[in-house]
């Protein structure tokens, strides 16, 4: 078996389309995971049982079932209930929802890590609950958890090929399509592997630098 460099050239146009889709899914999925995770974390601190309890059930359920099953469920079962979305939209929501249950734990740890004295100072100054959260607690909590959130973005990148299973043509999907058309396998899959490293490794270096800056 020889490595045919011209096959790389032939694959490139499809490859770039795949990269774009992967990055799109990653960016939007991260946004959902960051936002929804914060919602879960705050809801779990609610004084109301009717808020806390369902959120705990949902997040535990999502965290303890496989992403692939969730993607299939969203893509094949939801339409039967009248909710049909594109494969990419389904994939983004699936990734975001799945990872939001992890980021929720990250936020929770970050919030718990803010010293009690900060809450007390906020009370002593009569800050409203909302202001205490937005001006005092969350800025400190989020600062602590940025590196941990970043690790989940990298984990999400590595889980993004699962979207191929519901027909999203991200990097792996494009490679699969290319190889089924040309019967060339080693070149496209190698390129995809290299691309994952090329995105993930610098990202983790960036995170480490960020960690050094933020955690003082």
């Amino acid at each position: 078996m020889t490595f045919d460099w011209s096959a790389i050239g032939a694959f490139l146009p499809m490859f770039w389309k795949g990269v774009l889709v992967t990055l799109q899914a990653l960016a939007l999925g991260s946004l959902i995971a960051f936002a929804l995770g914060l919602v879960w974390a705050l809801a779990q601190r609610s004084s109301l049982k009717v808020v806390r309890w369902p959120v705990t059930v949902v997040t535990e359920f999502v965290r303890n079932t496989p992403l692939l099953v969730q993607l299939f469920f969203l893509f094949y079962v939801m339409p039967e209930w009248g909710l049909t979305l594109s494969a990419l939209a389904t994939g983004v929501i699936g990734l975001g929802l799945h990872y939001s249950t992890y980021t929720a734990e990250v936020y929770r740890a970050g919030i718990d890590g803010v010293p009690a004295g900060q809450w007390e100072a906020a009370v002593a100054l009569s800050l409203s609950r909302r202001r205490t959260w937005t001006a005092v607690i969350l800025p400190q909590a989020i600062r602590r958890v940025v590196p941990a959130l970043g690790n989940y973005v990298i984990a999400m990148l590595k889980d993004s090929p699962m979207l191929f299973a519901i027909g999203v043509l991200e990097m792996l999907g494009e490679a699969r399509q290319f190889s089924s058309q040309t019967f060339q396998t080693i070149e496209p899959y190698t390129l995809v592997g290299v691309a994952f490293i090329a995105i993930a490794y610098p990202a983790s270096l960036l995170l480490r630098a960020l960690e050094r800056r933020l955690v003082r």
């Binding site: 007390e120 100054l125 009569s126 409203s128």
Partner: protein
């Protein structure tokens, strides 16, 4: 005017309202606080008139800090009521009945109370100036310029004008505590609670903070409740010193009396250990 000297049969009262315009500002009525089975405060009665400075002394665990934390609504009493002026702090009146205060109600009343903590508790994510303007803007509704003007005046008072653009972590402990004092004063509270404000400071930084507080005590009409182990400071600023032991006031009176001729054996023991 001055506190009468007494042992616990009469509840401690600081000020007597004899002077015109002097009003009762703080009133603890049979306040009990327990942590589990441990009674930290045992049916405490206490009255402090406006403008008085009261120092609470006693061994650790005697309930001094608990009084400040109850006053700041950081703790809720198990029994009894606390009033600030003619309004309840711990309770609100609903349909002629006293019910535990809602969060919104307590927040409204406690705007009149400021507290300075042992560990400063400045907001590390905000620069010095914003630490001071945050509450005046978002709680009192001052516009930003007015709040900054007020903050600059206070920073001048505490001698930190040069540092308004720094983050708390860039300051020494003594400087942080002075910012915390400015932050509390920016709310123009009627009552200032000082909870062992020099205990976390390096010895060489203590004097600066105490001098500042002496200044404030002598130049304002703010009512102070102070927990401290600095007996000279207590002597300088207090109208009344209250000695606590096991959740009760065992002796109280003007500082010259408590520090020179304490009547209670426990007070004598305590003072000989700390002086």
């Amino acid at each position: 005017m001055s506190a009468e000297h007494s042992t616990p049969n009469t509840p401690p009262t600081v000020g007597d309202g004899a002077n015109s315009g002097e009003t009762e500002l703080i009133h603890f009525d049979k306040v009990t606080k327990r942590f589990g089975t441990h009674t930290v405060l045992d049916a405490l009665d206490m009255k402090v008139f406006a403008g008085k400075h009261v120092t609470l002394i006693g061994p650790s665990g005697s309930g001094k800090t608990t009084i400040l934390r109850l006053m700041m609504t950081l703790l809720k009493p198990d029994e009894g009521t606390i009033k600030l002026g003619d309004r309840y702090l711990t309770h609100e009146e609903k349909g002629g009945k006293l019910v535990p205060a809602s969060d919104r109600y307590s927040r409204e009343i406690r705007k009149n109370i400021g507290m300075v903590f042992q560990q400063f508790n400045l907001f590390p994510n905000m620069k010095v100036l914003r630490n001071i303007t945050e509450a005046p803007v978002h709680v009192l509704g001052l516009d930003k310029d007015a709040a900054e003007e007020r903050a600059r005046e206070l920073l001048e008072l505490v001698g930190l004008t040069a540092h308004l653009d720094k983050y708390p972590t860039q300051l020494s402990g003594g400087q942080q505590q002075r910012v915390a004092i400015a932050r509390a004063l920016a709310m123009r509270p009627q009552v200032l609670l000082l909870d062992e404000v020099t205990s976390a400071l390096d010895p060489e930084l203590v004097a600066g903070v105490l001098d500042l507080l002496r200044d404030i005590a002598h130049s304002t009409d703010i009512t102070m409740l102070c927990v401290t182990h600095e007996m000279n400071f207590a002597r300088d600023i207090s109208d009344c010193v209250m000695m606590f032991d096991a959740g009760r006031v065992i002796e109280f009176g003007p500082p010259e009396q408590i520090f020179t001729e304490p009547e209670n054996e426990r007070t004598r023991e305590f003072l000989s250990a700390v002086l």
